[in-house]
Subunit: 589 residues, 2 copies
């Protein structure tokens, strides 16, 4: 008996060869006394023919076979008749003439068809995930996920990094997102927490003298879920000693270009562009700009400084700004009604309205045109490079963030609607010079914009006491096509720096000690300058595989209510299990 | 300024070169107006000399430097005087003459010296793990761990496997060890469990059509800990479809020989020897025999069938056995007192005593000699290949397991004591033909010897109803130097087989459905024949790195009470955190 061969590898070079195939019945057709089966395995499909002249026994078995049966076929590779060649199939020039057939396992009728175009509810597909995963596009997504991970590893291994494993059962650190907790049986009343990231451990690894660490690390956040979040996710986690932020960015770029080359066959230019956080907000209204298309936000506050239009003047007088989007050549395509819809859209982002103008015969018209002087109109036309037929949309607010957020979102929406975005482009971008701190007006305290271990920019240090909101962080985010792939920073490696940071964040000495005492102590025993980066692997896979949903990149994902519909987790446990842990369920609530 | 160079890479070829070094002060010595610093980084050590003639400024800084300070040095590589060459140091023929020095970070006096030979209590070293990890041998262990993992990956990637990630937040399955539980916030009163292994998920991956899966998988067991157990551990987890157990063993051997070649430079012969479970127990008294030395158990029941020595006859009449160890040439070295100690030792394993004989002048002497006929003595001498000066130690019991366990343990103890074991040997061995089931006399039910998903040997199937204890499993364990590296099996892929297995294990239809319904259902939708293996990575690292303790192979290990002494996990959490999870701590107990 010949050794098993993979169905998808067969071609004309195998003609006349005796082969053994094992796999699934994708489809069976009975035609003129013959039976045709598309046999599927991990490599692809091949057509198997059962012919009563060749093997009535095999034909008899084929008659009992249905979709998703697991079968073993012995047969001979033959050329197809020219008129039955299937150009849509890799193996379409040949077929296998069965001489023997065996049923390895039967299958009930699957709850849904295994095909790419499907309107089957996702809940049903998640319950039968092992059937959904047989779809070719999901098979390919997970092969690509594997390729991406290996490309990352190959690069980092060659660059002198070592892969290390940090604990999953760790200590709860309430700063940050919500922890998943694990009750301890040995220490009753105490809990482990699942790590939100290996942040502190990777810093300790630097203090252990390893200098170049990475991990494809599982992380956990007990947050309310959206389409782009999962309770457990995977990040490419990197930390280095003695490297500058430029060197870390440079290394990361090399890693990502190597991944793009190996996985997508794309040669990307380096260095990647860098843009400050402020510039990204001003030009794109986003801290993760999609630079695959233009239509940038254009700041026109100075032009409208003396505007008689109340919306503009109120915004400017209150210290706000006015920016515009020039939607090139779309004036005729956007009716008043269509613009009303855009107005509703920007209101989601806190905008009070959406002023607009249309350009025609070298002039600007529209409801607010009458409030503008000729000088102002000329200024707008010049600054906005406005031509006849353009549509101008204005954002104006006392709060800069509302102008940025609303116009940034509107830009993306229009970019998509107008087909301005080329899906085949991969635009990487560094966003740098992040603010170190964010002020929470409700809680009346500062929070770390990245995390409390980020090192401030040296020259801004003096401002920590006077105007903390102006202090920049030694932090950098990597953006691809408008998605944040990840971010990193240099860390505080001197104890005084870290003490100071906790103080600014409102920690008492005791609270800092209680939660992070081990890190503060470690900083005193020879901590090297260090920094790193962490990147969301699931998101990288999503973008490179062209999927629209993070769940498609995770083998056994959870739903928006953090359930696994396949195994039915979470579930109830026995009282004996809880007793051992000395916990009980609170009945009220 | 020159780019940083790694200290341990410097040699005579760098003489006259200007270099920049960054690292830790391993040691400072002041000698005749000069200062010598051993600078350590991840690559090794180099000696830096501070000379007032060359740079009084650098010397001044060196004067303030202490052990574990992090420093940056600019200097020139120079040859050492022939009489100061240090052959113990890789870089011992050169030194670096400092021209500039910078203190990057200070260090308090470490709580213990960073040196290999240490009697510092392990608890203190675990609390300051980041200092202990700076020891060279631990640095090398984790580099080797990295190499082992990458060698495994390289092999499996080349062999067509794809690496996949299974969930950490899964469903509790009480069969097996104790689960770590994670309370759900969204589904109050319900719990996730951390996986004891990805067993069910990897089977589902086969049902998803991927055919060749692997993962370097974190696993969790909430068991009482011993020196060779940790609450979280890592296994090399593999599953395949359509492969026979021989093919899986063959693939595993190729993987392990590739690891041994790449990591240890050792060429191992293949195929690895195979031994049935029964043979392993009879010959070595162990299901994981250390075959690096002989001194096998010799079965002598038939020779002593009519023995007048009551211990032997009682054991044999009750269906038991008598075996002996021939401790070659050691008769003179074991006094009655020394043998008494061995007797105490075997009692740990349930033996009632330890009969013994010594060989001299072609005869056997000792307290039990008078009970033996000449015929019996001759039989023992012939069977045991006994020569003058040999010491014979007997195990006799109605229970075979007591004879095996006690003599097996005694064999290992004596093998170590007598220096019979060559530490440079690597003896791999497959143990096969395991029993499928074990009977628990207290609970009066059968348990799965491996796990409930193991496929019985086809020809034993009929015995499942009549004498289940005689049914063999399609299972195989890989043993190295007396350690179980891991094991695997073919799995039940037909629903009827799995139903039957649950029935034999005493599961009601409802209980099987409740716990494993999703797997039983998946078996009905086209499950391919499949099987795999899982191997303990931590243990492999321990053996290959020559460590005696699993904790040395895990970066941030936990103590015997499952505590992390560095971060002080587990710890208390806030009432608010528990309230969100709707759980509370039971005060009583």
């Amino acid at each position: 008996m010949s050794e098993r061969i993979l169905a998808g590898t067969l071609s004309e070079k195998n003609i006349d060869q005796e082969v053994t195939l094992k796999g699934w019945v994708q489809r069976r057709r009975d035609l003129g006394g013959l039976i045709f089966i598309d046999l599927r395995d991990k490599s692809g499909l091949v057509q198997v023919v059962f012919n009563p002249d060749r093997s009535p026994e095999a034909l008899q078995i084929a008659e009992t076979v249905r979709s998703e049966y697991v079968i073993e076929i012995h047969g001979q590779v033959v050329a197809r008749d020219p008129d039955t060649v299937n150009p849509a199939l890799e193996t379409g020039k040949i077929e296998v003439l069965a001489t023997q057939a065996y049923i390895l396992n039967k299958a009930k009728t699957p709850p849904f068809l295994i095909q790419e175009e499907t309107d089957v509810a996702e809940d049903l597909r998640l319950k039968y995930r092992y059937i959904d995963l047989r779809r070719q596009s999901l098979q390919e997504t997970f092969k690509m996920r594997h390729q991406i991970i290996q490309a990352v590893r190959d690069f980092l291994n060659d660059d002198g990094f070592i892969e290390m494993e940090t604990p999953i059962l760790t200590k709860s650190t309430p700063e940050g997102a919500r922890d998943y907790l694990v009750p301890s049986r040995v220490h009753n009343g105490e809990f482990y927490a699942l790590p939100q990231s290996p942040q502190l451990f990777k810093q300790l690894i630097m203090m252990s003298g390893f200098e170049k660490y990475y991990q494809i690390a599982r992380c956990f956040r007990d947050e309310d879920l959206r389409a782009d979040r999962q309770p457990e996710f995977t990040q490419i986690d990197i930390e280095t000693s003695f490297m500058t932020s430029d060197a870390i960015m440079d290394m990361t770029e090399k890693m990502m270009t190597s991944v793009m080359k190996k996985v997508k066959g794309v040669d990307l230019p380096r260095p990647f562009p860098k843009m400050s956080y402020d510039e990204a907000m001003e030009r794109f209204g986003s801290d993760k700009p999609d630079t695959r298309f233009g239509m940038e936000l254009i700041q026109v506050s100075d032009i409208l400084a003396d505007s008689s239009f109340k919306v503009f003047s109120d915004a400017l007088n209150a210290g706000g700004k006015v920016s515009l989007l020039n939607v090139k050549g779309q004036a005729a395509n956007y009716s008043r009604k269509a613009i009303d819809k855009l107005t509703e859209f920007v209101k989601i982002y806190g905008a009070k309205g959406l002023a607009w103008l249309k350009a025609d015969e070298g002039d600007l018209s529209g409801p607010i045109a009458k409030f503008l002087t000729d000088e102002e109109k000329k200024g707008l036309i010049r600054r906005g490079e406005v031509e006849d037929g353009d549509l101008l949309l204005f954002g104006a607010d006392a709060k800069l963030s509302i102008v940025h957020d609303s116009l940034g979102a509107l830009r993306l929406k229009l970019g998509n609607e107008l087909g301005l975005i080329d899906d085949n482009k991969f635009h990487f971008l560094w966003v740098t010079d992040w603010p170190l701190l964010e002020y929470d007006e409700d809680l009346e305290r500062y929070f770390a914009a990245h995390h409390p271990f980020t090192k401030p920019v040296e020259e801004d240090l003096a401002k920590l006491d006077t105007n903390p909101e102006d202090v920049r962080a030694n932090a950098y985010d990597l953006v691809l096509n408008g998605y944040e792939l990840g971010g990193g920073s240099l860390r505080n490696y001197k104890k005084e720096q870290q003490d100071k940071m906790f103080k600014v964040l409102g920690f008492s000495k005791e609270a800092a000690e209680e939660q992070f005492g081990f890190l503060l102590e470690a900083l005193e025993y020879g901590a090297p300058p260090h920094g790193g980066i962490a990147m969301g692997l699931d998101r990288i896979v999503m973008i490179l595989a062209g999927r629209s949903n993070l769940r498609d990149t995770i083998l056994f994902p959870k739903t928006a209510s953090a359930s696994d519909l396949l195994t039915d987790a979470p579930g109830t446990v026995s009282k004996a299990q809880l007793d051992e842990l000395s916990i009980q369920i609170r009945e009220e609530k």
